[in-house]
Symmetry: C2
Subunit: 175 residues, 2 copies
């Protein structure tokens, strides 16, 4: 399974691609941070983010694209740009018929570190251990995009396993 | 001059196209409201909005696309979807090299009715008078998209006129 994670942002947008299945070692495929200058026209900044995400999705053809869920309560100053970038990622995936998923920051932290309130350094350290990286993905947006992809591989398959178990038990009842 | 206005939204997204220049009668070219069902997958809802705006931009080839500026303070519950839809409109225009502009709701109300605190009924009534419409554009998102386009034609040309005056005076200084 290949998952592309997007940590959405207008100034910095993290994009990370991870291969693997839950319960087996995962591997890093790609990581990058798309950047746009604050002084540039908003339409051109958003276009650059859209084209960067589209290029990654077309190049790596993931089975799923996972985007951090944006909450308006988080940071009023940057939430508009963050929401706009997240929408572009969701459209880039949906246009190619790729499944999309959303996870909250605390879901990702809990999945990766075991604690929903872990700090950025702890998330980065665990991403490095899980993917056996010898160099730190920087800035934090790069590590966050990889953490999202790992979370989706682990949680997504857990959900699929639960759904399969429910389907099996329902099939059992019907028999 | 042809302007396409977008009142961004996920459940209802207004799209209005107006032709004309400031100081002369303006005319309605097109108005529609894109709708997506709340129960649908978010990626597919955003894709439907993106494709609807792209179709309108490609069909009407406006000189400018104007989008309502989204403030996180306005409505915390819907701001994420509103911001995502606005980002899709800005990218649809920028991808075709069309100029984009943003106006706040109070700028639009002030330009159309003379009061930044006018209510929806007053804005709709003025849009009908300005475009000589005999039927009311509904829902309010349709009237708001047309109001944005009218505001851009009036304010945009004022800005262009000021810039032209400055350019002329600078040219005069140099001569």
């Amino acid at each position: 399974m290949r998952v592309l994670g997007v940590d959405p942002g207008l100034t910095r947008c993290g994009v990370g691609v991870v291969d693997g299945v839950a319960g087996k070692p995962l591997s890093l495929v790609h990581v990058e941070v798309l950047r746009t200058p604050a002084a540039q026209d908003l339409g051109l900044r958003l276009l650059a983010i859209a084209e960067g995400i589209e290029a990654a999705v077309e190049r790596f053809r993931p089975d799923a694209v996972v985007v951090e869920r944006v909450f308006a309560q988080q940071n009023l100053r940057t939430v508009t740009g963050t929401a706009q970038a997240s929408g572009l990622a969701l459209v880039a995936a949906s246009r190619l018929g790729i499944r999309v998923a959303l996870h909250t920051p605390s879901e990702v932290k809990a999945a990766i570190t075991g604690s929903g309130t872990a700090d950025k350094a702890q998330v980065t350290a665990m991403v490095m251990r899980i993917l056996k990286l010898t160099t730190k993905p920087t800035p934090a947006d790069a590590a966050d995009a990889l953490a999202l992809a790992i979370c989706q591989i682990w949680r997504g398959s857990a959900v699929i396993q639960r759904e399969a178990a429910v389907a099996r038990s329902l099939a059992g009842v019907k028999r």
